[in-house]
Amino acid sequence: MPLFDQLYNFAHWLAQDRTEAEDLVQEAYVKALKGFSSFQPGTNFRAWMYRILRNTFLTSRTGLKPTATVAIDSDDSPELPAGLETPETILIDNSQHQLLQAAIDALPVHFREVLLLCEVEEMSYQEIAETLSIPIGTVMSRLSRARRTLRASLQQKLVRT
């Protein structure tokens, strides 16, 4: 099964629950096998698989929850206040690993997915655009906002601990 481990990781990040992630992956593979004819040769296979998985998630119970979909169109919302940058070297420390994971988990899903596709799956902006069915410009603005939101929330967490 191509991409099995990566797709599972991504599904679990999206659904934030093991059982649900397993259901998502299973459904995505069934859809992919059934709909293989809809895959256009010459287009990106990986982006196609992730798109199926993500669409499956969006129509799932968790994906339809209002908390998960709110702010999907907030790419144009006001900029976050600047000057929240902290010394990011603090993140190298392995003890901050869980803190970082919690911060990623706390991101709205449309920030979380774009960040993971870029940093973990190391997709190009073009691939991300294909996966999420959004223009490259939106990929860039969303990614930048996701990173800023993550930094801001990390700083808050660091202050609190």
């Binding site: 299973q26 940093e119 973990v120």
Partner: protein, 248 residues
Amino acid sequence: MDDWSPKLETYLDGELSASEMRTLDAHLRTCPSCAADVLSLIQTKRAIQSAGKRYSPTPEFRERMRKSIASKPRRSPIRMWIGVTAAVALLLVVGFVTSSVRQQQIERQQTFSELADLHVATLASANPVDVISTDRHTVKPWFQGKLPFTFNLPELQDSEFTLVGGRVTYLGQAPGAELIYQIRKHQISVFIFQDRAAGRGLESSSQSQKELSFNIESWAHDGLRYFVIGDASGSDIHALADLLKKAS
């Protein structure tokens, strides 16, 4: 000075244009503040990458998936995926090769039919040539300053061909020489262009073809692209082409 800070993340994602990449590379060597930012961004990137690889499927789930997929198609899922991947790869390769071959054919056809048009238009003109001379030592120098290249013309004393004259012509916005030769009552055009301007879809080795029942022969030599076209027989066209090849 440009403010690079908004672009640093794009830079680390490898998504700046090649020229911006180079400019920023150079900038980072001289700007300690940007270099420090880049360093901390790299560390964040690495941290997110390792934190992001958080979940892995349980062995039970992996096994369950393998079975559930295997039970549907008769072939094993792995072989099925290999088959599918191979088929896709094959389609891509075949598609690419045929489309580029097809593209070459189309370009060659376009070039040849444009040349046929030029040849006909020249012969239909009241003044087919701008330099009228049977002497190659008159015709060749006439092109001086009119073309960005030069060429040699063959000695015709022992052949049936006579030189009628020449003119400047254009193909695909590039200037070239058109020489008119005569054999018996047939007039033949020889076109000479720069190969990079006129060689679309053509190989450097000699090619002959019929286009609208004109005979055409074409080859490239020393960066120049030669075409011999006319209603004379294929062997006459070939004989003139040979003379030109020997001269060049």
